[in-house]
Amino acid sequence: MTDTAPTFHPESEAVLAYAAGGLDEAHAVLVATHLALCPRCRAEVARLEAVGGALTASIEPAPMSAGALAATLARLDEPGAEPEPSAAVAYDDETLHAIPAPLRDYLGGNLSGLPWKWRGPTIRELPLSIGSGTARATLIRVRPGAAIPAHTHAGTEATLVLRGAYQDATGRFGRGDVETASSDLDHRPVATADSECICFSVIDGPLSLTGPIGRLLNPFLKI
């Protein structure tokens, strides 16, 4: 596995919203997972957090009620919150190296043992439940050289490549790259021939009438 930095990054507004804390959890997982693979965007988030620090420091203060400091001082010796329970899953090397931590925490198992759903002979999909928002998050696994069915979507689709690469009309996307496709882009990604391609995808916007499964199956039915 080569440690090359990505070429394609999340949209700047998404990076800003991540640093500011305004991004829904599914999109935040996508950005944070990209950050693990992208020193450039880590530096950008550090800058934008400094902007958040400066803006918060210069905000018009809202006085705390009398006794707030005393109440807080009285709690200093309370035991801290329980540390986060460490992940029950012992990940294998394949999963540890392919899927960076923010996303890995949501898998609940190793790549080889997950309940992948059949989406045709060359594609497996693993829908992930992330956060409370309406965005849909999914992991897609495509055989080398196979096409992901042509599709459009109601909202914007952000795709992060985790293994292998795919090519579409706009370019070649490899590990760490993020492609953000709006609803009007009819894109036909094809995995490159040298490797299987694993992508993490987050689609926002209202669910279309075809629904999440229909969206993937529709193109097959038309073929």
Binding site: G21, A36, A43, R47, G52, L55, I59, P61, A68, L69
Partner: protein
């Protein structure tokens, strides 16, 4: 080296207060931090829709986190106000939005490390504070307003566009221009 400006000296005071908590559980330092940051954090949370009572509860939790996690503060990575902002931001997501805050793990085996030349490109010392403030102030109002909205309003760019009557593309391009300018100004090491 830059000369230290008055404002960065003031900012460094807060770095020192967090370190005093880390080193010797200094309650006086904590009270000073509280006096400065608690009312600002309360204002921050209220800007984002909290009622005053909930905002105070969350502020208290943030201040307790500062007390407990002071040892993990590193002024070479972020100033105290930046570090405290990230704690408040994450606490708000956790408490008020009831979502998890995903963060990358610096020790992740999958992490692509910084190139050696990246590591010292941005020098996170006390001087950065003044430079960040100056960078924000240098933005034209139509750009800095959008940046503030990103931090202080829970609104999508679509909603901002609808409310302001601006095309969505204009909102996005202004945000991008603002971010580019911030990047240039903040990284400017003279």
């Amino acid at each position: 080296m830059e000369t230290t400006t008055t404002s960065s000296t003031a900012a460094n005071i807060y770095d020192g207060l967090v370190e005093a908590i880390a080193v010797r559980a200094d309650r006086t330092a904590f009270a000073e931090l509280f006096a400065h940051f608690a009312p600002r954090l309360k204002a921050y949370l209220m800007r984002l829709g909290s009622d005053p009572a909930t905002a105070e509860e969350v502020v208290q939790e943030v201040m307790l986190t500062i007390w407990r996690k002071a040892a993990s503060f590193d002024r070479r990575q972020a100033s105290a106000s930046t570090w405290i902002f990230t704690i408040a931001r994450n606490r708000r997501i956790d408490r008020l939005r009831r979502e998890r805050r995903p963060e990358f793990d610096p020790n992740d085996p999958a992490l692509v490390p910084d190139a050696p030349e990246d590591a010292d490109r941005t020098v996170w010392t006390g001087q950065i504070e003044g430079r960040v403030r100056a960078a924000i102030e240098s933005l034209p109002p139509e750009q800095s307003d959008l940046i503030r909205l990103a931090y202080f309003e829970e609104q999508s760019h679509r909603e901002i566009a609808e409310r302001s009557g601006l095309p969505l593309g204009t909102v996005k391009s202004r945000i991008r221009l603002a971010m580019q300018r911030l990047r240039e100004r903040i990284d400017d090491l003279d």
